[in-house]
Assembly symmetry: C2
Homo-oligomer: 356 residues x 2
DNA sequence: ATATTACGTGAGACCGGTCTCTTTTTGTAA
DNA sequence: TTACAAAAAGAGACCGGTCTCACGTAATAT
């Protein structure tokens, strides 16, 4: 039994050097692939390294070079298809450039986000991609910059911060989706988001701390206002964080004296929950109620009817964020940019024509 | 503009020590939380650290302690709900114990897996959880052991390796699912997996290099054999790796002179693809064909009809794997165990009764 | 033949922590 | 007041790499 479970002292350059009968510096040159070494010596060292099964200690390497080769990513919830797709985009880009990715979950919780950022800075990541849970609490992000660590914001923008950001065109997306429903004759439209809020009621749109949600709500309200509909925020609901909560939100919406006839879900998880709620209430889509969801998630294309969605090209967003961060890490001079990836409305069968 | 983008030399214990007018050792004691220091000095150091915004360099710490606080996880495909759920379980467990997780994708490709393992070992992870793409090529896993790094196998078992493993009870799960269909009168049953194989045809069950798939196929075949059905492997198909491939596989299955009346999908991604294939062929479930899928994925509960599934408790599997690995890292003496998490069949509406 | 240059190699500082060992300070008992 | 143990603080080696600098030798120029 050669393979032990006991932690063993690992083979170092010094060990290889000794075995190859050269100095530590020379062995390091060969093993590290830098400097000049004669072919003869190189072969000796390579051979010694092979027999000893030498593996460079990336930690030590990072220590002296000051680069860890790691990119930190803080997302709201990896289980959300939106984020896992984004992470895939980031990872693919990172691997191409020789970086590794560490993912941390914030659960959209500010304190978790702060400690995640702290942890990653401690691990000396070369750069950070963050989906800020709140756009109004940004001390920790300022510190990231002050620590000299490149930062890219994802999905949400913070104008006060002079930092690159990659987001969707949330306002336009919401406008397109809402307009689509209005054009089909809908006059009472609801917007449902998972964002936490006191009482699930909207206090003040301008105060929504998540810029993506805020812009979507703003777009939504704008269309309703333009269409001359009264009290456009009446059916805007937050707090659809899990199935019971969502059931509750939906139930209350529908028990309104004038219940909405169409519904816009802020992300695919909310969309799925809303779909289940409606299903459990025995409502049929789009006959009884119409809906549109953000994100082209798995489930949206296999339901009956398939769900009309806002296609967000999240993978591209992830790739772009990764690309941008890597450029920053590599000190390529760039002006701060806030990239908006445009979305498209994919018409399927979940919006019905209503009215006369 | 205090926040610069330029990499700055970071604040070290030495800096804090100087500011607090104490020795480096003393500052380190306070900052590192070890040894004894008088309250007065402690306060000085803490104050100095605060004003300088000191952040410990976790890399340097790992360097001298020999522990990185990082767990490496190599999975087949994070986009697959199975793995993302598992990763969540592992991460939750890890965070609880103060570990960070690095995830690497193998794409079920052996060479990618090898280089991922190599990379993680290089980063000096404290332990490794791997979903081996093949159970017959294990040199790199042997090396992991030889390097003294704790290893836990996930989802797939390798008897030749004296290593902890956490898997599902794949054989029993397949038996239950297959039996369910047989009991409903089905006599021609197909099994579809995404595993790559030459020609998508099964050469020899014993040769399937993925133990989970092998055991499932074995269970499947066992039930058919017990039921006295002829040529039980006739409808076993591999290679449903993407939608076009799956369309092809399904089409060929159904154009058989005696097409199958029921179908077992090896995982939720295959299940979804098969569902779409059937849908695009205009077949209705379960009237025209019955199906069961592994994993309680999102989409399985919102289709019409909802899909009967094998519930795998993947989150628990992940947690268990994490727990086990952490125990190993912490040198808790344990015998090698191969844990099997039992699954349950969740009856929904995708299996119809056929025959007389 | 001698001066100059380039090249290959070795010695050792350094990165930022931890930790052992030594020295100094403090408190208490004789 | 001196003696001595215990507590607190300091000095410096160490982890495993990178990298600068110094040095010796061989190749080229004069």
């Amino acid at each position: 039994m050669e393979d032990s479970a006991a932690p063993k002292r690992s083979v170092t350059v010094a060990d290889v050097a000794k075995a190859a009968k050269v100095s530590k510096a020379t062995a390091a040159r060969v093993l590290g692939g830098y400097g000049v070494v004669s072919d003869k010596i190189r072969d000796q060292v390579v051979a010694a390294a092979a027999t000893l099964e030498y593996r460079p200690n990336e930690l030590a390497r990072s220590m002296s070079t000051g680069r860890s080769g790691i990119i930190g990513v803080v997302v709201g919830d990896i289980e959300n298809a939106f984020f896992s797709l984004a992470v895939r985009g980031i990872s693919d880009m990172a691997r191409l450039a020789g970086f590794t990715v560490i993912i941390a979950n914030s659960g959209e919780q500010l304190d978790a986000e702060i400690s995640a950022v702290d942890l990653l800075i401690g691990k000396r990541v070369d750069g950070l991609i963050v989906t800020p849970a709140r756009c109004d609490r940004i001390d920790h992000l300022r510190q990231v910059r002050r620590a000299g660590v490149p930062l890219v914001l994802f999905d949400r923008n913070i104008p006060e911060l002079e930092v690159d950001a990659v987001t969707g065109d949330d306002r336009e997306a919401a406008i397109a989706a809402t307009r689509c429903m209005v054009e089909q004759g809908h006059r009472r439209l609801a917007y449902v988001s998972a964002m936490e809020a006191e009482g699930g009621k909207l206090a003040d749109i301008g105060r929504i701390s998540n810029s993506a949600v805020r812009e979507r709500v703003e777009g939504f309200v704008q269309v309703l206002t333009e269409a001359g509909l009264p009290n456009p925020v009446h059916y805007v609901r937050l707090g659809a964080t899990d199935q019971p909560q969502t059931d509750d939100v939906v139930k209350r919406l529908l028990s309104d004296s004038a219940p909405p006839t169409a519904l816009l879900a802020s992300d695919s998880l909310v969309g799925l929950r809303v779909f289940k709620s409606l299903q459990s209430l025995g409502l049929s889509i789009p006959k009884d109620i119409s809906m549109i969801s953000f994100l082209d998630a798995d489930w949206t294309s296999v339901t009956v009817p398939p769900i009309t969605i806002v296609d967000q090209r999240v993978y591209e967003m992830g790739k772009l964020a990764g690309e941008r961060l890597i450029a920053r890490i590599e000190q390529i001079p760039l002006t701060v940019e806030r990239l908006q990836i445009n979305t498209t409305l994919v018409m399927r069968g979940s919006v019905a024509r209503v009215g006369p």
